[in-house]
């Protein structure tokens, strides 16, 4: 059954987010011959060609001063209109700050079922079957939307994107912005300089636990992360002890991450923490205690003092990556 797919394309720090390309690729597999449309909200058409090269058949742009920054009221109206225009029966968003905030309201407005945080999508006998982690990765579930519109958010960095093909062509259309009564007023946005790489979509995560001993103890971890282009996370013990913000916490009551490489420094490996990171492709553990449970889930372990080992690792990676 051919489907009309709509993908919300997101721009962050002046570039399209890779998860938007991953959504387009997932959309192509679900469309079964139907069109895949990408919508850019609050952005001009300068990104449209890149979306087409990555597999979109059509790009809708919706611009307006009130859409430049994300607000639920402004963007929900815009996404809703784009879905009507594209006659979408399948709507995909990244499981990002914006996607998580917008998709449930969009689904409710359409009386639609939604699958959150999908890590895999397959079409089986005409049905779209999503796989998603539950209990923060202690288990997984497959889930389908039984009837009506399909809405889903796709976890960044889990599904493949299509290679850019600049020979592809597609239509770009500008739509008028819907009138919106924005109830939310943005007073201020405080950007965290230190947390430059978003944890949930980072390819590499360097995390610290109780073993970092203080807020300053995170310094060598940040230095390693900088060389690797990695995000910096933490265990609940480190956050509870006040060594870092809760925003950095990885675990069942924090963020769930699935990077290619997870480097756990001074983290014992409580079940709460393992839930949030055990789906990482490769896990490295650095801990003084050879009995720490983290070593049981690690691919590579170093029994040693993180304050000695981590700076040496930073040096080695610097030499390797130049």
């Amino acid at each position: 059954m051919a489907r009309n797919v709509l993908v919300l394309a997101e721009v962050r720090n002046g570039a399209l987010r890779p998860v938007s390309f991953e959504c387009i690729a997932a959309g192509r597999s679900m469309a079964e011959g139907g069109p895949v449309t990408a919508v850019l909200i609050g952005q001009g058409g300068s990104f449209a060609q890149e979306l087409i090269a990555r597999g979109a058949d059509k790009v809708i742009t919706i611009q307006g001063d009130h859409l430049k920054e994300y607000t639920p009221d402004g963007w929900l109206g815009a996404l809703h209109n784009a879905a009507l225009e594209a006659k979408a029966d399948t709507v995909l968003l990244g499981h990002t700050g914006i996607g998580r905030d917008l998709a449930p309201r969009f689904a409710m407005r359409n009386g639609a079922g939604m699958v959150s945080d999908a890590i895999d999508v397959k079409v089986e006998g005409g049905n779209v079957v999503f796989t998603r982690p539950i209990y923060a990765g202690k288990a997984f579930a497959t889930q389908v939307v039984k009837e009506g519109m399909i809405v889903a958010t796709i976890r960044p960095n889990n599904l493949p994107a299509l290679e850019a093909d600049s020979s592809r062509s597609g239509e770009v259309a500008d739509m008028a912005a819907p009138a919106a009564d924005l109830r939310t007023v943005i007073k201020e946005i405080v950007r965290k300089a230190a947390a430059g790489v978003d944890l949930t979509s980072a390819k590499i995560v360097v995390s610290g636990g109780r073993g970092v001993k203080s807020a300053d103890g995170f310094k060598p971890l940040y230095e390693l992360a900088e060389v690797l282009g990695a995000g910096v996370g933490a265990s609940r013990a480190a956050a509870d002890a006040g060594y870092c913000d809760y925003a950095m916490q990885v675990g069942q009551t924090g963020k769930t991450v699935t990077p290619d490489l997870y480097i756990a420094c001074g983290i014992s490996g409580a079940i709460q923490h393992l839930a949030g990171m055990s789906a990482s492709k490769v896990i490295v553990a650095i801990n003084k205690d050879p009995e720490a449970p983290i070593f049981k889930v690690a691919d590579y372990g170093i029994v040693g003092d993180l304050f000695e080992v981590v700076p040496l690792l930073t040096q080695e990676f610097k030499a390797l990556l130049g």
Binding site: R100, S116, Y135, A139, F140, T184, V190, K296, V297, G301
Partner: protein
């Protein structure tokens, strides 16, 4: 200030998750208030303590959910309501039931958890806001309520956004918003004497056909290499980098 808290009962986060015959076993598991919802209850109590009013907690589910509601009462909530639902209710159905129950009642502020630690879907509270036509702010790290407005600091992928919304509004709690209190002994005694109101899903007259279905539940095998790298720290670092590049191919 009339405050409503949407509450879900979940597994204790330290509980072991066991899958048998395609479902999660919950018979011997300690169930608790979803930790994020507990922040919502605490915040509701703080707002009430500062401004007066009542705190009502509402949940959807079966008999066991009464324990969680009773705990919220013991923390200090004034009233508790259980909307009875059949197993298999998805986020669409739960939000529809909550909204049908809440319609016509005048709440100034609705609080809920940002996400539940079991399904992790993060849909129900925002769906409820949409069904009730309320503005929302998700993942609050700080909340101030004054002059018919809520000022909220929210976590947006590591950045902090400061937003202002007119009341009534829905705000979801992120970890770090507060430190939930433990119920006091008098609080527990008082909660025991309270009645938890029950509402049958049928009485609410809304669409309760689930839009989604979980078709299987499984656990992934953890096949890890468990290689311990020996030697002096400098050798260990060199060897680890070599393995990550040559063997694991992740850098």
């Amino acid at each position: 200030m009339e405050i409503l808290v949407l509450l879900k009962q979940t597994f204790d986060t330290e509980a072991k998750v066991t899958v048998k015959d395609g479902r999660i076993l919950d018979d011997d598991v300690t169930l608790v208030i979803n930790p994020y919802d507990e922040y919502a209850v605490e915040e509701a109590l703080k707002v009430r303590e500062a401004q007066g009013g009542t705190v009502t907690v509402v949940s959807v589910g079966g008999d066991r959910v009464e324990e969680a509601l009773r705990r919220a009462l013991a923390m200090g909530a004034d009233e508790a309501v259980l909307v009875e639902a059949q197993p298999g209710a998805d986020e669409f159905v739960v939000a529809n039931l909550l909204a049908a129950w809440a319609k016509g009642k005048a709440f100034d502020l609705v609080l809920a958890g940002n996400v539940s630690v079991d399904t992790g879907a993060g849909q129900t509270a925002l769906r409820f806001a949409e069904a009730m036509n309320l503005p929302h702010v998700a993942a609050a790290l700080r909340l101030e309520v004054a002059g018919g407005k809520a000022t909220v600091h929210r976590d947006a992928e590591g950045d902090t956004e400061v937003l202002e919304v007119p009341l009534p509004a829905l705000v979801t709690a992120q970890q770090g918003l507060n430190e939930p209190r433990y119920p006091s002994v008098p609080g527990i005694m008082k909660a025991k004497r309270k009645t938890i109101a029950r509402v049958g899903a049928g009485e609410l007259g809304v669409d309760v056909s689930a839009r989604t279905e979980v078709t299987s539940v499984f656990q992934a095998e953890q096949n890890r290499l468990n290689k311990i790298i020996k030697g002096e720290p400098a050798e260990q670092a060199k060897e680890l980098v070599r393995l990550l590049r040559g063997e694991a191919k992740v850098v």
